[in-house]
């Protein structure tokens, strides 16, 4: 029966018409004709096909397989992404991992404990503490202060008649505490003696002045452009170490710090965060998305120049917040010049507002500007911290900047002359995504990284770890040429950051920062508003003459001192003020931000030079406007609303 049925089916099949796919073989099978069951099946099949078409599902099995595989991968990714977010959200905040546990002590051990601070009540690390018999001779106990400035010294069982605790550290005046008879009795009983906190005062030796001079020389070399920034910073490091190692054998007070102490000032979180982001950016920039965005802005504006200007500013701003402003301008500026030329307008009317918007809007995220990366790492400000506390102010400032740019370049924007349809057509060929697959993958990894930046703070996930994990995942997924990817990492910049950390560490070590902080502290007194205004506007003004990265790096400990001393500044408000001042102030001059310099370079290559005077003329009012608006927001957020 079965054989007959199969044979009938084959016979029946032979009567059908139209192509049918069986396995991988395509066969022509005649139609069922008018038979009711066949018609029903045909109708059902047609109905299913219609549903599938409506849902965007493929008809054939081979397509199904590809689609399912893609959907599976996509859903796997989505699940993984959501899972990570869920874990990060639900995980309770844990305490920070503490340092090694204190050694187990026997009951009845005599201890001398205390802490050492500077004049700003901040802990001083690595202070040498020695308990010395007053009669002279060797110390009976020695140790160093830890990261919190505390020390614990274990004394031997036999306690001499008189004891002095000697406290000394390079670049500070020596201090000594003579233990009282009652303290000695306590120690002989095998109990601990807790000494009051010791305040160490700075000493102004030759090392102080030499370090200050070297720092100023490094800043001058950078500001004048006489040397590459990295070389200038390296010259500073080499000079500091040379003075320390070669000078100190001649005069002890020439010692600044040793190599090991110098490296302790390097913030590796910043270095690895920048490195990770460089890899991600290197993948993204090859996809053509920056050029596509710029061209799409033109298309969406419909040739209306005022709208094009506003759209390019928003695109440059948002892209800068998610990647970085230098990359954004390097890749958007050339196509912006071409759009402007095709429209017959002065490219500077688009380029200047674009770079200013990228400098302003980058502040809204932790990774948007190098200064935010520095500030975030130093002050432990999270991604969401920047986003929630600064973004409203930044949006306000960007709005003001757009209005200013529309007014400033109104002559260019109202004119409709000079547009060339041929050139615009030629340009449209370039405004497309070159590597859609890589962009899709980078988009997924970027989304995961944003989620990790955002929620990772709950488990104290460092941004550098997120950047490295994201960069590695992207590399593993797209499998690029590793040699090319390693070239994508800007080692020059990383060396620059390492060197600038050491140079700034030196002025911190010898006390220059303390004196600057004391000076600013004296000016602002106990007023939070004055402190906020001082940090914002000093940052904005000085960033126009000093490159904002070394400036911010030097200001971090100063702002740290102020945060510890000004009432109400504990909430990191002054660090947000520094972020606003240093980044928005960069719009005040050509050398204020790296993005300005690369934009000027590109404009000059196109025959539209941006001079120092031109930048200052256009940028100074923009700084005044944007910083004022951002100041209003910061005052509202931190002073009025608390």
């Amino acid at each position: 029966m079965k054989a007959i049925a199969l044979g009938a089916l084959r016979q029946e099949s032979a009567q059908r018409s139209g192509p049918v796919i069986i396995g991988k073989v395509k066969m022509d099978i005649p139609s069922r004709g008018n038979r009711p069951i066949g018609r029903l099946i045909d109708e059902l099949r047609a109905q299913v096909r219609a549903w599938m078409a409506a849902l965007g599902l493929p008809e054939r099995w081979s397509e199904w397989r590809v689609s399912l595989r893609r959907r599976f991968r996509l859903s796997l990714l989505t699940t993984a992404l959501l899972g990570i977010c869920l874990v990060l959200v639900l995980t309770p905040r844990r305490a920070r991992i503490e340092g090694p546990a204190a050694p187990q002590l026997e009951v009845g051990t005599a201890l001398v404990m205390g802490s050492v601070q500077n004049r700003q009540n901040q802990a001083i690390v690595a202070v040498e503490i020695a308990v010395v018999p007053a009669s002279g001779g060797e110390a009976i106990a020695e140790g160093l202060t830890q990261s919190d400035g505390r020390y614990i010294l274990v004394l031997p069982k036999s306690i001499p008649e008189k004891l002095t605790v000697e406290i000394r550290r390079g670049h500070y005046r020596k201090a000594a505490i003579e233990l009282s008879p009652s303290d000695l009795l306590i120690l002989r009983d095998g109990r601990p003696v807790v000494l009051p906190p010791t305040i160490l005062l700075r000493s102004l030796g030759p090392a102080f002045w030499i370090t200050a001079l070297i720092f100023l020389a490094v800043l001058a070399l950078m500001a004048t452009g006489k040397q590459h920034n990295t070389l200038a910073a390296l010259v500073g490091v080499a000079s500091l170490l040379a003075v320390s190692y070669l000078g100190s054998p001649v005069r002890e007070d020439l010692f600044i710090f040793d190599f090991r102490s110098a490296l302790l000032y390097v913030d590796w979180n910043v270095i690895f965060l920048i490195m990770g982001m460089m890899i991600v950016i290197a993948v993204v920039e090859e996809t053509g998305v920056f050029q596509w965005l710029a061209f799409k802005s033109y298309q969406l504006s419909g040739g209306r120049r005022w709208l094009l200007l506003a759209m390019l500013m928003v695109v440059a701003g948002v892209t800068s917040a998610l990647l970085d402003n230098v990359t954004t301008m390097l890749l958007m500026a050339p196509i912006t010049v071409q759009i402007a030329l095709a429209l017959g307008m002065n490219p500077l009317a688009l380029l200047m507002p674009e770079v200013m918007a990228s400098n302003v809007f980058g502040i809204s995220t932790l990774i948007g500007t190098p200064t935010n990366i520095l500030i975030g790492s130093y002050a432990h400000i999270s991604f969401s911290g920047f986003l929630f506390n600064l973004t409203p102010g930044v949006i306000l400032a960007l709005g003001g900047l757009i209005v200013y740019a529309e007014w400033q370049y109104r002559q260019e924007l109202v004119s409709e002359d000079g547009a060339s349809a041929e050139l615009l057509q030629r340009l449209s060929e370039r405004g497309r995504i070159l590597q859609p697959e890589e962009l899709r993958k980078a988009g997924w990894v970027g989304a995961a990284m944003l989620a990790m930046f955002f929620f990772g703070e709950r488990v104290h996930l460092l941004p550098s770890v997120t950047a490295l994990v994201g960069a590695t995942a992207l590399l593993a997924w797209i499998k690029p040429d590793m040699e090319k990817m390693m070239e994508a990492i800007d080692w020059t910049t990383l060396v620059f950051f390492i060197a600038i950390f050491i140079v700034v560490g030196a002025i911190q070590e010898v006390g220059v920062i303390s004196y600057v902080a004391d000076g600013i502290g004296w000016l602002v007194g106990d007023s939070l508003v004055l402190a906020m205004l001082a940090v914002i506007w000093m940052g904005a003004i000085l960033s126009t003459v000093i490159a904002n990265i070394p400036f911010s790096a030097a200001m971090l400990p100063v702002v740290g001192h102020l945060s510890a001393t000004v009432p109400g500044a504990e909430g990191k408000v002054l660090f947000y003020c520094l972020a606003v001042g240093s980044a928005m102030g960069g719009n005040g001059s050509l050398i204020g931000a790296s993005a300005n310099m690369v934009t000027a370079g590109i404009a000059e290559r196109a025959g539209f030079p941006i001079t120092y005077a031109y930048f200052l003329k256009q940028g100074a009012p923009a700084v005044l406007l944007t910083v004022s608006l951002a100041t209003l927001w910061l005052l509202l957020r931190f002073y009025v609303l608390g």
Partner: protein
């Protein structure tokens, strides 16, 4: 050398308003002599030293495209003014070296080039360097260098529509 003896002219320009007079002169000479006009643009990316940026391959590509775009505009303008044979050449590297190489390689009879200006723009040459360069170029390339004094560019020239 009269313009009648010129069969090929190279016009070395960066683009932009400061190149306007140089381009005009090159077109005029090309029309007078019936010579082929080649616009020459050198892409130097020295400024990228300011960038905190690693991979410059994409940026170089973008700069090349930008230079090409400016040269296409100039070619269109020259054709619109009646020059029969126009093309452009794009090179990368040091401007002086590339100009010298081009003069020798192409066998052009004339190069039209703008003199250094007194504007705040960064000039490629100072006046003395320019004179020495022109003398060398004429000797080595056996050609005539037509120097053009660029018209000073005021800020208003940069606004209200751009005419190259």
């Amino acid at each position: 050398m009269t313009t009648a003896a010129i069969r090929q002219i190279v016009c070395a320009v960066r683009g932009g308003p400061e190149s306007r007079e140089t381009v005009k002169r090159a077109i005029a000479v090309a029309l007078e002599s019936g010579a082929k006009l080649t616009f020459f643009h050198v892409m130097d990316a020295e400024f990228l030293g300011y960038a905190t940026h690693g991979t410059l391959r994409v940026v170089y590509h973008e700069l090349r495209e930008m230079g090409k775009f400016a040269m296409i505009i100039l070619c269109d303008r020259a054709q619109a003014r009646g020059v029969a044979q126009v093309d452009y050449l794009l090179r990368e590297g040091n401007v002086r070296t590339q100009l010298r190489n081009l003069a020798i390689e192409t066998g052009a009879e004339a190069i039209v080039i703008g003199q250094p200006t007194k504007s705040a723009t960064k000039n490629l040459f100072n006046a003395a360097e320019f004179d020495a360069f022109v003398t060398d170029l004429e000797r080595e390339g056996n050609l005539r260098v037509i120097q053009v004094q660029p018209a000073p560019i005021a800020e208003k020239d940069l606004q209200g529509g751009l005419v190259l």
